[in-house]
Structure formats: structure tokens, C-alpha cells
Symmetry: C2
Subunit: 543 residues, 2 copies
């Protein structure tokens, strides 16, 4: 049996576009002599549809689309991810995989394990499958399990149900796993381990089909795979691009037409993921050009470089917005960066707007000393001018904050926190440096001075980040333990960190929830990003 | 048996403060001769703790607190809401109610039905109870069910389990229901109906104890109740305040010491809820004073009036920020409002900052015509000056947007969408008018001119809301059907609304998700508010 893995990019809610794409892939696979084509989870409506699932018209459109695809599906079997209606008690819907054949729906399997943690909210919408049963696919007894159904013991917790075991006890000899598994650094290795572990545990080849695409916070990297019954990866599909791939299943086992590719290097993948996330957000939302504030600092330099890779340098407008506290070096560095990248830039000094604002506030502020207020004012004036540009020319404003700053609140709400998308909001400052070095590998794009100068917000004379924050190596280490590893202060201190420093950092994180509540969507690249996957109370006492 | 209902206000994560409050209530109830005291759901840690539940130190602190309370609980039985650890497969925790007696934990009942819709995410944290069993409470066979456990058939969907039926079949004759049920307009009636229905269905008295307090988006109104076995409400506790109340359970049935109170009028409750939500947010987060932009329009007038009721007029700073497009009437109306309310105000004209900003952008904008850019610029300058005031003096900035505007995106991101809390973000414009009239009932606070003038953003000459939007009566009706009732365009049109208008309104709503993603937390007062309870994709195609 020749099996086609269809790794495609779906647009949430675009039933016509998704259906066309699915039907084209079916036609192509049939022409290539495939007996079966497998699409990813919720392919028909796109994943994750979130609260659109609460709308009856959305559900109806999805069901109609499944029906239309079924009617066009001849000469090949098809496993297709979509929703199904639950007519019994419980949630109104199932997350389902349809088996289509000979112009109709041959069978449907529901998802058993509904991920409801971090960025996943499936129990909000779906009822779990009451049971699972293998199906006949072109003479093979196959189990169809959707995404999380394979992960019964591979999370922080284990599920009480083991759908794969239920299937093998009923005679399944092949596993088909339509998925929607978002990218994060290191996730590819984890996925591979889970697939191998399951293949070996149940001595069965596995076909894993992931979607590709990015939907604001979530980046789906594709990287679909086939693992044989011994746990060997026999096919690994590319990342961040659509593709069809084929495997041959016979009595000898399962084999790919190509060798599996090498697991790519970490910064390379991270860079690709961020570029892909930016490009997808723009194309999905109809933005052709980007604008950003280019300060001469490392964060904006990296965002600008990624943006140029995403849309091409001529589509990236840099605004240099120097204040009286900006060093000459900063402006020169930003200009050099733009020249290296070849993107247009405009210098708009903010001194006059700053003075006008201070004058307006003077009757109220009197002789009160310069403090955080005036620092924030400069950041907000920059935000306002950037948004003015965005409004006038229709460019999407990219946010340039990094995860370290967002974590400790070293950022100004409505100032440098402005933006339609935050490419680095899940990238710690130390990783931003590593990423910059990586981006410079094939020739200097980011000027050396930007890489080596001491980080500064330049919002008051001679300001340095290190005046307010611990060194980033230490800060980032503490933040990772607190945010990603969820350790408390005592456990972090037990790792050898100074207790005063740890308590101060945790307090900064806790007291900045209100800023992150209003921050732009962040491209998620770690196991715990700020945004939809992290719900901390705004009103609480837990320092 | 004399039973005490403890309707208290807990601070999320404040284990010491919550425990002190609980122990004081136990002592008071024991002194009053009560045999049993009932606290609300998750009383020990506060509800909703959200992702704090992922932190081991938080879990440990909660369990320790339960143990300490148990050890102090003598001479009275106690039903106490807290978490419990799941040592088996599945999620790490249970949502639990402990029965405390004679200095130890006598038994523990877990929650069976875990609300996971709208603002509730309990399946994210908790494993459902494997089973329920009645317990002996001072000689009475009592069923302890937590909040949603009573609502098996009272949501948009029904649960397959009916915990109450399991309990009655095992002989329970009294039901105890610790809850954390957030306020919304009309919710009190719904709760009463559910309690009555259950009491009649199972012929059993019900004791329902809700918490009071507000945690950013969610307002908990208390309003705890006791219903007898015939479905009569025999006790109804006050709203928005802490209280202990007592009922006597005997072989004759259950009776209250006081008559049930009348169900209060809708605008009265709405006003109380909003005032309470503002006050709670401030006191919880340590803000003593508020600041807001007072435009002379209806929205800011109502927010200002509510703010004065919440903290007292001397704590509410109004900033009047007229531009060249502000009518003289607006400034005069705003001044009148401040004089009526007795709160301080300051006038800061924005013309010079606006001109400086236009000058700064002039080399880039050239002779391009005045458009939305310049309108937004004014709103953002106001936001920047308000935030400057907030930073300098430590006042919390109140947002003044209403739900109609937030729905259709008739608001400027980082401009009038600024603020730490949005009191009217879940109140439609037509309801804002009704609320204003209500607030004026005991003497004019909001000047008549503000109530009668045509709504205008005053961001360009002679601008009126009606230039861009349908009349608010029509707009709000369509929005309610789309947002609260989740109807699609076709169904709304079928109700008699013009199809062009409906399609335009829905498109405006759909295309404004990105603004709401960065909007302040909104006090939730309807069944579907913007914020944590409504998760719509940012990247999707569903017009």
C-alpha cells in the first residue's frame, strides 16, 4: 500500500480555501498511485479554531465541507481531520478523523485524550471518544488516533486511558496519527522519542502527519514523520513548508522513498520558526509591509533582520527615533544595520514631542524630579509615532521586546510594548545574542558594535540595563527555572542562586502580569510562552 | 442542627490572610452555637487561582493551610473548599471540599463536574472525582457537592454524570454546595432556579455558599442561599459584602432566622457590581487613587461616577484633555460633572503635543490628507498624558471604553484603550445610558447635556459616532445576538435586521480581535464578556 502524507497549511475558517487544497492533494496523490492519503488534525477548519467552535454556522460549514470532500474522494482512501457532532450528553462536539472512501464517509474515529493545558483548551469544546476501534484501510487493520491520543504517558501527567493499547488488543497493525503539534525549541526530538517509544511498545509502524502554518502565537512546523515497527524513523518531512510525501507499506515493513533528514541545528530552527511566524502573520492578515523602531540595540536589530528575511528588506521600514539620551553610536549603529540589510529607514527625532509633552504636564508636575514617568513618556512617544506610521501607510508594527524584559516588566506599556506581533517575546535576552551571532554567520548583518555594547534603554543619561537588572546570564537562568520549570523561590535558591536576587526577580515577574495582559501576541517557541498558554491571576498575593 | 454559611472575601494566594479569616469565622460560629460552618469553593487559596496551581509551592502551601485549619477546628464541624492531590493517573489535583471535625480531616469529597467553558478552565488543572459518597455531618446524612456539580443539566450542554442522583441513591438528605459563582446580570435568578429545581427534583434542602470579592475580570457577588426541600428560598444573603448567616435544620425542615430579601432591581445590581469591582481591584492591588480622562461624553461620565462611589470623590482625579476638535460644551460638561461629583480635575490641552507630533511626522507624511492616523494620534496623546499622570502620582488609570465600541473596534489601541481596568467593557452603550439615568436618580450627578448630546469621539471637525456606526439601539441588538447568543449572520438577518448592516457589524467585530487582545481587563457582568472568557483566533477567515 502506498501512503501519502499531506503536510499542508490551512487557514482557520477558510472552508473554501482549505477544501480546494485538500481536493488538489487528493488528486495529486491518486495520480501518484497512492492508496491512502492522510491529512492533519482538523484540516477542514484549521487548528486551533478556538471559540469559533461555539458558533453553529461554523460547525455546519465544517460538516458540509467534509461531506463535499467525501463525495469527491474516489479511487483512494482518505483520513481527514474535522469536527463531528455529539448527539448525546456532554460537550457538543468531537475532534474527529474521518475515513473517506468511494465517495462517502466510511467511518469516523473521535479523539480520546483532549489536551487541556498550556496553549491547548480542547476540553472546552470537545467530548472525549467513548471508545476506539481499528478500521479496514485497503485491507490493513489500522488504528486512527488523533495527536494527543499517542501521548498518554508523555506529558507532566499521564492519562488513565491508553487508546493505542485498546487498538492493538483489537488487532491494529498500523497506526495513523493526524496531528496539530506546535513548534517549540526541542519539540522535534521529543516528538520523535514519543513516536519511537509507541512504535516499540506496540510493535507497529506509525504515520504522523502534522500541519504547517502559523496562527499568531502558535507556529506549526510540519516535520511529519513515519516510524517503522522497530522505532526507526523512515521518513522525516521538511519544516515550515507544505509538502506531500509517500511511503510504501508491505509485509516487509514500512519504507520511505528518501533517507530521513538530519535533525537541524537549534538556532537554525529557531531562526526559521521566527521568520516563518512573522511571514505567516503578515500574509494571513494581509500586511505587505512591516515597520519597527530601530534603536541600535540588539533586540530591534534581531527583529529587523528576521523581518527582512520574512518579507524582503524593501518591505521593512525602520524608524530611528532618537531622544536626547540616545548616544550617537546608537543612531550610527542603527543606520549601519539598515545599510547592511538594505531596508529603508527614516530618522524622526522625538525631542520636540517630548518637550511639548513635558510642557503640557508641567502645570501638574511642577518641580517634581525626573523619574520613571519621563522615561516611559519617551517610550510612549515612540510607540505613538510608530503607530502613526503604521496607520498612515498600513504597515504592521513589529514589537521588539524580548522574553527577559517582558518577564520582569522592564518595558513600557503602550510604549515599547506596542506592536501587532512580538517575534522575540518568547526568546530570552541571552538567546537573542546567540541568535544575532547565528544571523551574522554568513556575513555581518548586525554590526559588531550592536553585539558588544552594554544593553541600555537610553531613557535617561548613562542608563544601563545592569543598573536595574542582574546580569542577563543570571537573570535568564532564574527566569527559566521559574517560568518554564515552575520552581518556587526556595527550589531556585537551592540551585545556588542568591536569595535576595531570586526573591527580587520573582517579585518583578509577579508584579508585571498587568503589563503582559496587554502585550502583543508572542510567537511561541518554548514550552511556556507568555500569552494564551500562561494564565496567571492579575489580582493575587504570591510573592 | 444550626448551620452557619460563611460568605467571605478571599485573596488569591494569601494563605495567611485567608486562614485567619476562616479561623475567625469558625470561632464566631462556634460561639453562636452553630454545629456546622460551610465555606465556599477553594476558600483556602481563593478562586480562581489559575496557573498558580501549576506551582508545587502553591499546592503545598494550600495543603498545609488545610491541615492547620483542621487542627484548630474543635467543637464544630466545618466544610472547607481547597485543593487535594491526585496520586493516581490523570491531572495532578482535585478541586475538593474537606469535612473537618475534632481537630482533624474527617473526609474529603472531590468535584465531579469541572466547568471548562467561558471564564472557567477547571479541566486544565483538575481530575474529576471518580465517585461521590454522602458523609455523616452531626448525625445527618449529607451530600457535599462543589459548585458545578449541581449544574449537570443547566448549561448549554448537559453532563453525562449526575452527582446529586448518586448521592440521593446513597441516602443523602441534605445537600451542601460550596461554590465560586461569578456575578452576571440575571445570574441570581438563574442560580435560584437551579437550586429550586434540584431541591424539588431530589426533595432535599440545599445550602449554597458563594464567595464574595472581585479578581480583575470576575466579580463574585456572594448572594448565598438556602432552599428547602420544596424549593422555597428560606435564606438569601446580601450581595457584594462579607457576612455570616445561620439556618436551623430540624425534622420539620430547614428555616432561616430572617425572611428572604427581595431580588434587587437590575440597574441597581449592575451599578453595585461595577462599583464593587473597581473598589476590589484597587484595594487588592494597593491603589488608593484613580485617574481617568473626562471627555464630557457619557462613557467617561459614568465611569467617573462609579469611581467616585467606589473610592470617594476626593480619590478620583479627572483629566480634561481637550483638542482643537473638542467642543466648548464638552469641556463645560466635564467641568460640571466634576463639580457635581466633587472630585478634583485638571485641564491639560493637547494641541501643542499634537502639533509637535504632526511636525515630527511631517517629513514622512508630506501633504497626505488628515485621516484616521491623526484621529488616533490625538487619542494616543491623551493615553500618554494619562499614563504620565498615573506614573508620576501612582494613580490607577481607569479605561472608559464601553462594550459596543470594543466590539466594533471604535477605539484606539494605546489611546482610549489604555487603562488598568475597564469598568464598562462589558456594558453596551445603550445600557451605559440606562445606567447614567439610574445614577442620576437621587439627584443629578451627570449633567443633562451629557445624557442628551449626540455621541461623538471629537477627533475631527463635526464628527459624530453615527457617521461610522449604526444607531446604538440597532448596533447593540445585533452585537448581543452575535456575541452573547452566538448567532451567525444568517440567523441575525432572519430576525429582521438589514443584511448589509449585519454583515458590516460582524466584519467590524471580527476584524477587531487584535485590539481586544491588548485591551485592559474588563469587569465581567454578562454571560459573554471580552477577555479571558472569549477566545477567538487572531488569524482566521470567518467573515
Amino acid at each position: 500500500m502506498k501512503i501519502c502524507l499531506a503536510q499542508l497549511n490551512y487557514h482557520i475558517g477558510d472552508f473554501v480555501g482549505n477544501r480546494t487544497k485538500i481536493l488538489n492533494a487528493i488528486a495529486e496523490a491518486r495520480t501518484a498511485g497512492a492508496h491512502l492519503i492522510v491529512f492533519s488534525e482538523l484540516a477542514v477548519c484549521g487548528y486551533p479554531p478556538e471559540d469559533l467552535l461555539d458558533y453553529p454556522w461554523f460547525v455546519e460549514a465544517c460538516l458540509n465541507s467534509v461531506q463535499e470532500i467525501a463525495e469527491s474522494c474516489h479511487g483512494i482512501s482518505c483520513v481527514l481531520g474535522a469536527i463531528a457532532v455529539n448527539k448525546g450528553k456532554g460537550r457538543a462536539l468531537y475532534n474527529a478523523a474521518y475515513l473517506l472512501k468511494d465517495g462517502h464517509i466510511a467511518s469516523v474515529q473521535y479523539k480520546s485524550l483532549l489536551p487541556t493545558y498550556d496553549v491547548f483548551h480542547e476540553a472546552r469544546y470537545f467530548e472525549p471518544a467513548p471508545s476506539v476501534h481499528p478500521v479496514d484501510v485497503e485491507g490493513v487493520c489500522a488504528g486512527i488516533l488523533i495527536c494527543e491520543d499517542l501521548w498518554d504517558q508523555h506529558n507532566d501527567f499521564s492519562y488513565s486511558r491508553v487508546p493505542l493499547s485498546d487498538l492493538t488488543s483489537q488487532g491494529a497493525t498500523l497506526l495513523i496519527n493526524p496531528s496539530a503539534s506546535p513548534f517549540q525549541v526541542g519539540k522535534a526530538m521529543k516528538r520523535k522519542a514519543v513516536l519511537k517509544d509507541n512504535a516499540q511498545r506496540f510493535q507497529m509502524p506509525l504515520i504522523y502527519v502534522n500541519q504547517v502554518g502559523a496562527h499568531a502565537e502558535l507556529i506549526f512546523d510540519g516535520n511529519s514523520m513515519v516510524v517503522d515497527a522497530h522505532g526507526n524513523v523512515v521518513l522525516e518531512m521538511p519544516r515550515f513548508q507544505e509538502a506531500l510525501a509517500y511511503v510504501e507499506l508491505s509485509s516487509e515493513g514500512i519504507g520511505a522513498e528518501h533517507e530521513p533528514s538530519e535533525s537541524p541545528e537549534y538556532l537554525h530552527v529557531l531562526s526559521d520558526a521566527l521568520v516563518f511566524g512573522i511571514r505567516e502573520y503578515c500574509t494571513r492578515n494581509g500586511f505587505k509591509r512591516l515597520v519597527l523602531g530601530s534603536s541600535g540595540g540588539i533586540d530591534s536589530a534581531v527583529v529587523q533582520t528576521l523581518a527582512c528575511k520574512a518579507l524582503g528588506p524593501e518591505q521593512v521600514q525602520a524608524l530611528l527615533l532618537p531622544s536626547r539620551f540616545s548616544s550617537e553610536g546608537s543612531v550610527a549603529d542603527a543606520v549601519n544595520l539598515c545599510q547592511n540589510l538594505g531596508n529603508p529607514y527614516t530618522v524622526i527625532p522625538i525631542a520636540d514631542v517630548f518637550d511639548a509633552s513635558l510642557n503640557a504636564l508641567k502645570p501638574a508636575f511642577g518641580s517634581l524630579p525626573f523619574d520613571l514617568t519621563e522615561e516611559n513618556l519617551q517610550a510612549r512617544i515612540r510607540g505613538q509615532l510608530l503607530m502613526g506610521w503604521s496607520n498612515k501607510f498600513g504597515h504592521l508594527l513589529l514589537n521588539t521586546s524580548n522574553k527577559s524584559e517582558m518577564a520582569v516588566g522592564y518595558s513600557t506599556l503602550y510604549g515599547d510594548l506596542c506592536g501587532g506581533l512580538s517575534p522575540l517575546g518568547d526568546v530570552y535576552k541571552t538567546t537573542v545574542y546567540a541568535l544575532a551571532a547565528y544571523l551574522n554567520k554568513q556575513g555581518t548583518l548586525i554590526p559588531e558594535a550592536i553585539l558588544t555594547k552594554e544593553p541600555s534603554a537610553e531613557l535617561r543619561p548613562d542608563q544601563k540595563d545592569s543598573d536595574s537588572l542582574p546580569p542577563y546570564e543570571v537573570l535568564d537562568a532564574v527566569l527559566k527555572l521559574y517560568i518554564e520549570k515552575r520552581m518556587g523561590a526556595a527550589s531556585i535558591i537551592a540551585q545556588g542562586f542568591d536569595h535576595v536576587l531570586v526573591n527580587r526577580v520573582l517579585q518583578l515577574v509577579n508584579r508585571s502580569e498587568y503589563k503582559r495582559f496587554q502585550a502583543p501576541p508572542v510567537l511561541r517557541v518554548t514550552e511556556k510562552a507568555f500569552g494564551g498558554g500562561r494564565k496567571m491571576p492579575l489580582v493575587a498575593r504570591y510573592d
